[in-house]
Subunit: 464 residues, 4 copies
């Protein structure tokens, strides 16, 4: 691996004698759009067939073009041809290589097409492919979560609000919250995918092709469900990229929350989990540490994806129709965001799947912090004490316990009754974490039956 | 109107003796969440009925609560009661006023509910209502665009790429691009609305209510189509707010592009339109100016809405489950963004509906700038000249014209043939803007029939 | 307090008959720029005096204008005059009221000035004033931090990396990190202030005033240190607002880190501090909780300020020179960000000043988690063992302790020597937290002498 | 050039069997931090010398380490050694190669140092170097602007507000606005550089090194002006990176405004300039076009740099002290932003230096659009007519001209006097663009003497 390639400033040299070269490097996109090679070839094949269908070229010419395009692709992929930075983008590189193969016929491929609709087509195909991959990776994480949830319906830990212990919950209940968050993410990507599923081909520069091309045919060749209604919109639109970045940002937000919890739970103070060795790292100076790097990086990378969304929104702000070169910025933004998202989803799945759950630590945490207080107040309410009054009584009990160093579980029936005659003997069991959880069996609740239903629902969603 | 109220620093006083007060003001949300009054009342009414249905309160108690809540709302709206900054939020204000009316019964309303699910419910209802309003406003702008497009199918102007004149297009074609962009925006809001359409009620703090409430019933009372599957998700989720902000950002991006064009077209240099007096302003020092302020402000406000999206994405980044006070920031972000969006949509519709279209200036612009060049190249291609070669020939013709100060329309058949024997006499008419446009009648093209189809399609979409 | 005023949609009514009104409301800034009243009056007084100095008006006319302006200000502040939304901004309101008082003379005030330089002047004065207030508030927080640090030089807690306990540190050392972060923030505001300290007056619309005004005199009247070198820059420049927002964003980032620690430290798991009642809130359903709301809100509000920075950067992107109405967006962005920042600084100071430090919990946390490991490795190194080898030996010791449930402090000299003959008896004391801290007395270290130096340096910086 | 390297997803494979590998790739930074090779070597050399100075290693050992480090650097740069992705970062790669050369002595280099202070040191050195390069590039652009301004003091064009022609200005005046904007940018980078100019070395993990290192000595070895006052701050601080990104964002905002003007001025409608061939591109389908791609890309890339700023601000939000792996995201953000900024500065300088200025088109634009209106109003004011009244009279004149199709320059003295008896014969010359410009010779104005002063001031600033 050479030094400095990947991040080298692309625009070498000094201004003056090499002005042209500096600017050519600056506007060139071959450094990153070569990733679109396969899709560009597919788009060109569809266009060749469309030209033949319209009688603009013969079927035989179309065959030659298709075969030539496939050879060009193979030559590049297998190293027989090199992409050259002398030509500004992947499209020109392919064009030049095709011309070397086919001579003048190669140029006929560009009849009735413009770079504007060609590039837009590639980007639509790319987004559709990425969404398919994201589906798999979201499902991988959902599956990992569901698998762990299944084993931990009965494992209790404190549920937190404001980072304060609030009420005991099932660890499965906690994990499943992420399952349903990711389910929404999947829906958003799916809708983005439907909007990306329209073909710009035939829009040409902005006015529609000067040749009577069958746009529906071209779309079908490429697996698109429809065509843009308006040629100017077709070449100006980058909504589908922004929408992808937006869906990715929300997903990363969810992952950052999960990652934050993994980091907190891995601390000595919580001690709820231990990431596996594959998903944590040692310290160079402190031999005893196991750092949850993978979770930290996922958390940190949310900012990166947000930045890509914001960056492209800013780039598109105030651009007059139709195509402007500013829009070339869509590619690196999208490539970086999608690679980041996919890596984070994969690593999150691995971390969740392989983490050690320290159930004993979780459960012992449910015994401190007066987690039964809400239940004690509810108990009084169900005996007819007004809620606010019940709240006051329980507040006193907690204050008493704090002052003498007791937990609620240390109180006997008589102690409870000292604060309110409405407490029966059953209060002792009721405020136990298991009692508290068991009472919350309404839909969506943390009780074992409710969590069982959630698990079945999650399985349906995953399999459906 | 008093000075400094709306933007006064909310947190008066000096740190020290009034520390508590400063902090109370800081955490209070009554300054802005009073806007949720009506929705909070609706949510509480639904909860009262749900408590009665579960037998936790009697039907008569429920009736008293419902009536009391309605009276509290009326009292505030009609000025008989005042909201007080002494109580931190709208919920506490309502609670206090209800207690004044009903005594201890009022407190029973809070049985089995937490602020967490209560606030989330209000926000869901709010987003649903706003989306309905946004639908109307997007449609208002779409209608204004469609109306103007109908009158300008035959009005030609240059289509631009890279801010350079590229090809003549119908002004209707250009306007309709925005129609279809806004159609996508409407779909995004619609999908956001569907995801907002689930009820958090019954989730309580995070574990599910300790009482066996019928969550589906409560949801139906409030017009929700379903309930959250997981209580922790229900109170932690602000996706629907972020998704609203994201849809609003894309819409604002579209409006900023339209606004940019309105500003450019209003300049002396373009002279394509003139905004009506209601949508422009004079200058204090330059009496001859008519500034397109409304369009400039729309363009500028895109940044503001982006900022709100980004701000809330950042706020939510890395928050552990379940509720954290950071999430209180969702309200002002949403309120500001939705007010801005709605105002921009309304003003954009007015500006488009009332602008003067200066068709003569548009059309004369299509005669300069060698707009027929593409068509001339296409002409050669259709005569069998390879595209790249045709491109070269036309390039020479343009260079020649530039050097001697002619436009393409100044050339006669013989001039054309001087460059290529493939040009026939018909080239002269073909490169005329009208000829160029008429040839582009494939679906989505700028030709009159294609634009007619676009208009019919747009009308269907608007009426559907 | 009325319902819905502060956040009401400013643009009422329906498009059509009230189109003009809707747009007028949309472009009006009187809703928020009234906050600039006092500064606008000051700017106008300086301009009146400058006109007199240039002989454009008489000294007597200048006196009348100055007196009239002061009266207008007094009338508004004391409620004798009302600002009207009929006039678009604060400048026009003042102008109208002045005309009511002085008749035609009032209009002469606008000789040789444009709204562009007038508004820019107000904004410069505003930023300068805000920075002075921010200085005081940053210093208030620095003082609170320094005061607490002074008392806790000897209080030890674990220092964390990756949320893992790493090494024992002095709590003063930890707090002082924030002191020095805030010192950098203060420097950034100071530099922003210097760049804001130039007067745009005399730039007029963009070409410079058509009257030979003494710009240096006007600048001096307003307390500016200099004037803009170029009139077009003077009216187009909003760098000073963006730079303020950028400095505010970095400060908020620092406050968000402090807030995160306050939240973590307030949890049952850490138990390191307890926020005072004035800076925390109870829960409506869980009587035992004390939520660190003020810290959570500070953390959350970082997103809001970032959003304002980003929003204005986007608004300014791609704006041609000179003034465009888009730039009107600078005001609400700045007002909201500065109010938010100042409130957060004040509340952070109060929270830090009044929090209870639970030193015993901190210190007991330093005894777990093998914090002495680094020191043990350093010990071996100082005895000539290569660092990587020392690291390996200590890793084994830690693994041994973990497997048998011991802490490093449970080991006796013989135990240590069982792993390496290089350990002397002094290892036992050396790995004790106090020993570890005491060894780190190089500049910037956590040792007591080094922390003492930091405190003295901090005091100098604060007093200087 | 191979396909897909630069943007290939870094994390290949499927989750499961290769979990560890996937995560290792995910957390590795060697893909981008190899760019720090030279700086890391310099930092290690300084540390070796510091260890010797403290007597922790001998002078001879230090010499061996220094020589070994230099050889490792040479080996990598000259291709004798390869960096391996097997080791996570550049630091580990260097360490491994050094160990191959020196055996156990290599490991002693890590005595008293942590990755935390090592990485922070590299980043400080990097930012300082980049700022030096940015200085040169900003100065290159300032020089290009100044050179063009010198030639165009007498070239007039319309100054615009709201994209409306407002007043005639000197093209030099317009260009110089950018000169002074860039001067502020330079100051901001300079201040950022001063804050980056402190050494973190010796801070170790967060508590300060366990060895009595001379931190001032190490700092001086590396050319730093000082050391961090607090070790925890030293390893947690990324302000200097954020401040660099913020200064870069403001500079990009300025460049985006310049770029927007270059694009507009290149249009047929304005026709004010023509970018040289080196800085524009042809169209694949429209042979006559010369697209201002380089300017468009500069404009578009502002979003990218904003996104990096925002991304890192978000990443740092809410991070507890001290080091967290999230902070690893600082590198790619900084590398991408600084490469983008430098390329844009260089290209902007080239575009400005080589553009063709079409003075005749500029000047003819100053004759339309009633640009003399302000001057006519000022004329009346100087004759004692109140400004608002003068404004009204001139408004009438403009309205009259518009209705009959005249420009102000078409009016004779009698025509003027028909509207106000206060007009003398001299009004005809006075409202001519040259007259208007000549009258604006106050400091910062567009008059020739004032612009001459600006040019001298600019030259001083550039040479100073």
């Amino acid at each position: 691996m050479g030094v400095g390639n990947r991040n080298r400033p692309l625009w070498g040299g000094r201004f003056g004698d090499d002005a042209g070269a500096a600017s050519r490097d600056f506007t060139a996109s071959i450094y990153f759009d070569r990733r679109l090679l396969g899709l560009d070839i597919r788009g060109s094949i569809a266009h060749a067939n469309t030209l033949a269908r319209a009688g603009i070229i013969t079927l035989d010419e179309a065959s030659q073009l298709v075969e030539g395009l496939r050879e060009v692709e193979g030559d590049i992929l297998e190293g027989r041809s090199e992409l050259s930075t002398e030509f500004e983008d992947i499209h020109t590189n392919v064009e030049v290589l095709l011309a070397e193969k086919l001579g003048p016929l190669a140029a006929r491929l560009h009849t009735g097409r413009s770079r504007n609709d060609q590039v837009a087509t590639d980007m639509h195909l790319f987004v559709k492919e990425e969404i398919d991959e994201v589906f798999d990776l979201i499902d991988g994480l959902r599956r990992a979560i569901l698998d762990r949830a299944r084993d931990h319906v009965e494992t209790l830990l404190p549920g937190y609000t404001h980072m304060q212990r609030a009420q005991p919950v099932s660890f499965a209940h906690h994990l499943l919250a992420y399952f349903f968050m990711l389910t929404r993410d999947r829906h958003r990507f799916s809708e983005c995918g439907r909007r990306a599923d329209v073909s710009p081909l035939g829009a040409a520069a902005l006015a529609g092709s000067g040749f009577p091309l069958d746009r529906e045919f071209a779309a079908a060749e490429l697996g698109f469900s429809g065509v843009y209604e308006n040629a100017m919109d077709a070449v100006s639109d980058r909504d589908f990229v922004l929408e992808y970045l937006s869906a990715a940002s929300l997903t990363m937000m969810h992952l950052s929350r999960l990652a934050e919890e993994l980091v907190l739970w891995s601390s000595s103070e919580f001690g709820f989990i231990r990431l596996s060795e594959g998903y944590s790292t040692g310290s160079s100076i402190m031999p005893q540490k196991r750092n949850p790097d993978s979770a930290e990086l996922i958390r940190g990378k949310s900012g990166r994806v947000y930045g890509r969304l914001l960056g492209l929104l800013t780039t598109m702000k105030g651009l007059p129709l139709a195509y402007n070169s500013d829009m070339q910025e869509d590619k690196e933004a999208l490539f970086d965001a999608t690679d980041t998202l996919k890596a984070c989803l994969k690593v999150a799945a691995g971390a969740v799947a392989t983490m050690e759950v320290r159930g004993a630590n979780m459960e012992s945490a449910t015994l401190g912090g007066f987690l039964g207080a809400t239940d004690a107040a509810d108990y009084l309410v169900s005996r007819g004490v007004p809620f606010r009054e019940a709240h006051g009584i329980v507040g006193e009990i907690v204050a008493h316990c704090e002052s003498v160093g007791l937990e609620l579980s240390d109180l006997g029936p008589a102690d409870w009754r000292g604060f309110s005659a409405d407490f029966g003997d059953d209060i002792v069991e009721l405020i136990h974490p298991e009692g508290s959880v068991r009472r919350r069996d309404l839909p969506g609740g943390t009780g074992p039956a409710a969590v069982g239903s959630q698990i079945r629902r999650a399985k349906e969603l995953l399999d459906g």
